[in-house]
Assembly symmetry: C2
Homo-oligomer: 221 residues x 2
DNA sequence: CGTATTAAATGACTGGAAGTTATAATTTAG
DNA sequence: CTAAATTATAACTTCCAGTCATTTAATACG
């Protein structure tokens, strides 16, 4: 079926072009400020056509988020090559997540927009389902790294990998989100918050995490 | 000026009544699904009148968030009574934040909606300004508790209170947010995430935090 | 080649919601 | 009791997501 295959590929490419246009606009103006007419314009298509490829505006936005998640996962994958202890892998993922945050701030924001919604609100929408799956994949990578660390002794044995993955994920996301929305504020309030840089805070955060995972006194297992 | 005082109070009361109506609707249907006509209806006022008391829909929503923040701060205040070490105070605030999250989930969500926005997007809106101020107040309480802990030796000395406050706040918010939006999912996926309860995760989170603040080996100061 | 059938694209249209404003009602002051 | 000022109203405007009848293009077939 080379013929319907080609059509399939063309359709996929068209879909991709639309996401390209949408992404540029979303990144520059934010979700609400962008209209579908604008996107259609930029994609050199009519608005009606958009609805042949996406369920609605949110679905389209979630496709952008899906791209972000894929980039993030690829960055995780890359960083896991080489010999590492479980703890080192956890740290590597954390640092990759931080790189994703700094190098792809717009994607981070978009992913967060998806992630901060109740599950029910995006299951049933194609783009949302994709995000859901990719999100689980990312969380699974963290859980696996923690499990390895418990196995090889680099992480304290009384830790449940699944629980730890959820907590680590929430923590990192929360810290990055706070930094993204409030950095200028913190950096400006010299009196209350005399920070040198965002990196300083991130370094402190990673240090905290490592301390809490390390085997040592107080292990309750 | 008892006369303009009374007017002032009446205006304040009217404003409060509107927020009451808005809050009920926002809590039951979410921000986007609520229309100003509905709110006006419920408040037994016309839509135009709402604009005499609030700048726009978002401003009104931020006033609800402000209520939430005030409740939260009051809970923090309450929990800080009695003799406590700095570390105990940090933990107490953390637990109060958790209680706020469980007992006032709708407020938590509303506050989060505000908190996850860039500063510029809410400065200039009265409700947003209020939230901003209250948010700083809450963060300040955390920073002060950490500082006390460093002073009394219950927290390791190489910690910068301001930095720690930001990180702790981000961490807790991120974990709670993740739990709020994804609990059912985690509790349902028995295979990957065999959780007994949300409390278990929260307990684990608090344990992690305490470990990372405790004085002990590895202190780099 | 030319015609019929199917698929893809269009853009005018609809419904609904945020925000405005001219007018009316009410309250205050003299 | 009347004039001025404040407060409330609801009809109106604007804008945008989403729909659909129609047109255009692609494919299959005689």
């Amino acid at each position: 079926m080379t013929i319907s295959d080609r059509k399939e590929r063309e359709k996929e490419k068209r879909r991709n072009d639309i996401v390209d246009a949408a992404e540029a606009l979303f990144f520059s103006k934010g979700y609400e400020a962008v209209t579908l007419d604008e996107i259609a314009d930029k994609a050199e298509l009519s608005k009606g056509t958009l609805y042949l490829y996406f369920k609605n505006k949110l679905d389209l936005y979630f496709f952008v988020a899906g791209r972000g998640l894929q980039i993030m996962i690829d960055m995780f994958q890359e960083t896991l090559t080489g010999e590492k202890t479980g703890l080192q892998k956890v740290r590597a993922i954390g640092e990759a997540y931080h790189r994703f945050f700094t190098q792809h701030g717009h994607y981070f924001q978009t992913v967060n927009f998806w992630d901060s919604r109740e599950i029910d609100s995006y299951l049933g929408i194609p783009g949302g389902e994709t995000c859901h799956q990719l999100g689980n994949q990312a969380l699974g990578m963290v859980a696996r790294a923690v499990a390895e660390g418990v196995a090889d002794g680099s992480i304290r044995p009384d830790i449940d990998p699944a629980k730890a993955a959820v907590v680590l994920w929430g923590q990192a996301t929360g810290v990055f989100q706070l930094l993204q929305t409030k950095v200028e504020h913190f950096l400006q309030c010299h009196d209350d918050f005399p920070f040198a840089s965002v990196e300083e805070i991130v370094a402190f955060f990673f240090d905290m995490i490592e301390r809490s995972l390390l085997p040592g006194p107080g292990g309750k297992a």
